[in-house]
């Protein structure tokens, strides 16, 4: 394999990669939520308190606490609020303000509406692929 072939292949791969990247940046899988501006504040609260260290969204995150993707529809606002207000024997009470708690609830509502993270809802095909 000479240098010309190597550089050609590398350039080809890089062009493909960059095109793929730009395509993904421009053609996002979901449009912005109508409720996005309100949910964004909650997302920032989520990140500010590093909730992902213990909780998962779509299976991504720490495993000390449960996956919260669909907690809003499964548990409801009051249940989540109770945890946020007092913590648990593992989760500290972060002493969130009312504004922060409401923002977090809006964020969890928005995450819940984006789809289901329940692995039971997937169909597995013989070729190894899946569909929901």
């Amino acid at each position: 394999m000479n240098d010309v072939s190597k550089y050609t292949l590398f350039t080809l791969f890089s062009v493909l990669f960059l095109s793929y990247s730009v395509f993904l940046y421009c053609k996002q899988p979901k449009g912005a939520d109508s409720d996005y501006t309100r949910a964004d504040h909650g997302k920032m609260v989520w990140q500010q308190y590093n909730c992902n260290a213990c909780h998962q969204i779509y299976g991504q995150g720490g495993f000390l606490g449960p996956d919260l993707t669909n907690s809003y529809s499964k548990r409801g606002e009051n249940y989540i609020n109770a945890f946020l207000q007092s913590g648990t024997n593992i989760m500290p009470n972060f002493h969130l303000s009312d504004d922060e708690r409401n923002a977090l609830l809006r964020y969890l509502k928005s995450v819940d509406q984006s789809g289901s993270a329940d692995p039971k809802t997937f169909t597995v095909y013989a070729n190894g692929s899946i569909a929901q």
């Binding site: 590093n50 991504q60 692995p119």
Partner: protein, 446 residues
Amino acid sequence: MEASHNNSRNFATWFIVTAMLLLCFGILFGLLGALQYIIPGFLKNVLSFEKVRPLHVSSVVFWIIMSAMGAVLTYVQQYNNADIKYPRLLKLQFYIFIGTIICILISYFFAIFGGREYWEFHPIFAIPIASAWILFIFIFFKTQRSFTNQPVYVWMWLTGLVFFLFTFIESYLWVFPYFRNNVVNDMTIQWKSYGSMVGAWNMLIYGSSIFLMEKINGSKTYSYAKIAFALYFISLFNLMFNWGHHIYTLPTHNYVKHISYAVSMSELYIIGRIIWKWKSSLSDARKHYHILAFRFIMYADVWVFLNLVLAIMMSIPGINVYTHGTHITVAHTMGATIGINSMLLLAFAVDILWNKKEHRDAKFIHWGSIILNVSLFIFWISLILAGINKSIWQMQAKPEPYAIMMQSLRPYFLIFTLSGFTMIVGFLFIIYKILTSLKVSNTLTK
């Protein structure tokens, strides 16, 4: 001239020394995190898990990055038989990294987070990290003077350097509302960047391991061979396109998943080659077993095999549905970062830093590596078993509450905490002997 030559080469070793200290921090915070799994509420009001986890993750990620940089900077000088072109810039790069890492670690104690999954710190710290990386690229390009007819490891170093910067910047696109305006969009780009970033630092590490293997063998045939470049391009293709397996269960574009599935299967070729070559690998192992650095490469080879089997299985969406969000993912991460990356990085540390004259120390390091690998295997298996149990739980029609499931996993958490503890003992044996031999040989102050 000779003095400055030595100074510059030796300064690059400071990256590895610092990295080893970061590894010590990382494993201690890891142990603290494991204790929080088995003693619920442990240190809840002082150093709760949302602080301990980033302290652990960032310390070990910086161990990987700093020692990979140290290895590349040392080996590029050895390969070219030339000094670093701009030693002052090298020092500047080092001090920016050190200053930023200290600030990042301190920031966690004050609950200042970036809040992203996996590797996170406040976005302001990304600016000096990216700037120091640009300096690294500049120093490398100036030191590696020729770019024609180069061995595969030079290609791998260049690839790792450039793609790390690209993916690192990409991982901060979330600071723009456009990229975080929907959780699905945000996670798609996040795992695109993280998946490729790991591939980028692997390029730096695997490139250095090929350089080291050839140094041990005294032959340069492999790094110019067609097969070496074929494997390089397969790895590059995977670095670019196989990241989608992190997000199979995310309702993102289907083609992201199909591309990732197809590309990941190209790794079957690598695993097939490992099996095909096992006899010659064994004879290599016998030939070079007396060389301490080689032993770490040998351990890494075993972990490559084990982890690749797990990775390929997890890259099949139909299997990933069961393993995703369970401790099997953690087992894969631990196998990759400890079993593969850390073994190779310790091989570089032994090769570059260790004073090889002390036979007694060699035995100490050897036993440390045995304790480390046996403990890691038990640790890895306990995580897989915990993952299988969690997978069964999440597939139940009416699963028990999360806390009950976590309680049922307690025996596995106990095993991984105990094996984690003995793993730390193994690590400390090795680190202690390497660093004290450095003091004896006075390498850094010459």
